[in-house]
């Protein structure tokens, strides 16, 4: 096994990845969610690319990073070839992760509405109590009119976003240490911060995988991350608030399109 460390020999690819994500967002044309007969377009192609690049890369980063050793866990790979292999896997996942995250970030800059729909609202606690109370079998609770994302998901998004930003900033600083003389006092803060953010990411991704993919009631939403669509019935039951927003928006669009265009003025 070669001792070639890609973090050493092709480090420029990591710096390229964020700009590739930003450029891709600039040339991507998005399709907004809409009702299409008996189904609802929930995620366009760009959303699926954002999600899977970020998600799969996160999983690979966590596995390869923890294998090399996190603050609170022993290194699972011993020195030499296994460490270099783990580092090179980590490198590939870093490139994909940065592309996906910056693709999402740039898409969000282009449409701040998409960020707003990820952020918790004033109904966060009340809706979460009702939703999960009902899920746990307490009949006194009724399903709240959740919007596109459940309020509990939006609260988890805050933690995921904070962890992602910390991991990226500290990761870039660790990367810079390969080329520049970063003081050891800075590195002694950066590395533990990277590791703690990793643990936060684990705390996010494990429940996310359970609630989004393993829980049977979530299988329609899991499928939508591949097909882009959910059924109208599913949207009515689980995301009534979101469906109402889509219906209102589509009614307004239809009204705009049927408005008569003013006749052109004739020259005197």
């Amino acid at each position: 096994m070669s001792s070639k460390l890609w973090f050493d020999s092709i480090i420029w690819v990591v710096w390229l990845a964020p700009f590739a994500g930003i450029l891709a967002a600039g040339v991507t044309r998005r399709t907004n969610p809409r009702i299409e007969g008996d189904r609802v377009l929930r995620h366009d192609g760009a959303a699926m690319v954002e999600h899977w690049t970020h998600g799969i890369a996160t999983a690979v980063l966590l596995v390869s990073g923890i294998a090399m050793g996190v603050l609170f866990f022993p290194a699972l790979v011993r020195g030499g070839a296994p460490v270099w292999a783990a580092m090179n896997i980590h490198f590939v996942a870093v490139v994909v992760f940065l592309f996906g995250t910056f693709y999402y970030g740039a898409n969000t800059v282009l449409s701040l509405r998409r960020l707003r729909e990820h952020l918790p609202t004033g109904d966060a606690i009340e809706y979460t109590k009702r939703h999960y109370g009902l899920l746990l079998g307490f009949k006194k609770f009724t399903m709240p009119p959740e919007r596109k994302y459940f309020e509990s998901e939006k609260m988890a998004f805050i933690m995921a976003a904070a962890a992602t930003i910390t991991i990226i900033v500290t990761g870039f600083m660790k990367l810079a240490a390969h080329s520049l003389n970063v003081p050891a006092s800075v590195m002694s803060i950066v590395t533990p911060a990277h590791d703690v953010a990793t643990l936060l990411m684990v705390a996010f991704i494990l429940p996310h995988i359970f609630f989004a993919a393993i829980l049977p009631s979530s299988w329609p939403i899991f499928r939508s991350m591949f097909t882009g669509h959910v059924s109208l019935d599913y949207a009515k039951h689980e995301h009534a608030g979101w469906l109402a927003e889509l219906e209102t928006a589509q009614r307004q669009d239809a009204a705009e399109e049927t408005k008569p265009t003013p006749a052109p003025k004739r020259a005197a």
Binding site: F19, A20, R29, T31, G79, V83, S111, A184
Partner: protein, 244 residues
């Protein structure tokens, strides 16, 4: 992907007005410029610019060891771990004495000290600059906070056993630093100070020099016996019996 509404399309001033550009144009431009700058920089660096040359200063000093004087007491190993780690642990010593129980003098004892190589392979192999030549003294040493534990330095050392060691307790590389970083010792270490192994060796089998010894592929032979009281001990019979 169609775009019924161009999301985030138009700045308040309007994208159609001359001299203005939309958020989308800004994002596309930022991504394109960054992408191009990095690719362009890489092309320039790899094709147009000459290869970089890094000059590593020579070390400020070298340990000389004479295996024929060594008694194998391992005091040097204990002193090394004690001064650097505050505990006596042979596995944490940066100088290693190995004894072949079936070997005959003078091949029964090997002293594996760091040779402070003029071209330090360990420094060249380190991806983060943790293994480096100290700016003031030239001593090849590890900045522990920067070590990422890849152990390329351990692999790169041309000698066996590797003079760069893995600290299994603190999870970083370490090596002989001529006691520059001996934090559990009251004495000043380094090329201009003292070295714990040299101070503690009762056989005076370890010496220090600031002159670069003649190196070979297998290291360098040192004679610390000639011209000393060793000559009066009458060990020549043993040496002659082994044909040396």
């Amino acid at each position: 992907m169609t775009d019924k509404k161009i999301t985030g399309g138009v700045t308040p001033s309007g994208s159609d007005e001359p001299g203005t550009f939309s958020r989308r144009q800004f994002v596309t431009g930022l991504g394109g410029v960054g992408f191009g700058a990095i690719l362009g920089g890489m092309l320039v660096k790899s094709i147009i610019l000459p290869d970089q040359v890094f000059a590593i200063p020579a070390s400020g000093g070298y340990l000389l060891v004479d295996t024929k004087k060594c008694a194998g007491c391992s005091s040097c190993m204990l002193a090394c771990s004690l001064t650097h780690h505050g505990e006596t642990n042979l596995s944490l010593s940066r100088i290693q004495i190995t004894q072949d129980s079936f070997g005959k003098f003078p091949d029964d004892i090997t002293i594996s000290q760091c040779r402070q190589c003029p071209y330090p392979s360990c420094v060249a192999a380190c991806p983060t600059g943790a293994m480096h030549a100290d700016a003031k003294t030239g001593v090849r040493t590890v900045d522990e906070a920067k070590c990422i534990g890849c152990e390329r330095c351990v692999n790169a050392c041309p000698f066996t056993p590797s003079r760069a060691l893995w600290n299994f307790e603190e999870k970083h590389a370490e090596k002989c630093d001529l006691c520059l970083g001996a934090k559990y010792w009251d004495e000043v270490g380094g090329p201009d100070g003292k070295r714990a192994c040299e101070e503690v060796c009762s056989m005076h089998a370890i010496k220090f020099t600031k002159e670069l010894p003649n190196q070979s592929a297998t290291g360098y032979e040192t004679d610390l016996r000639t011209g000393t009281a060793w000559n009066d001990y009458g060990f020549n019979g043993a040496v002659k019996a082994n044909g040396r």
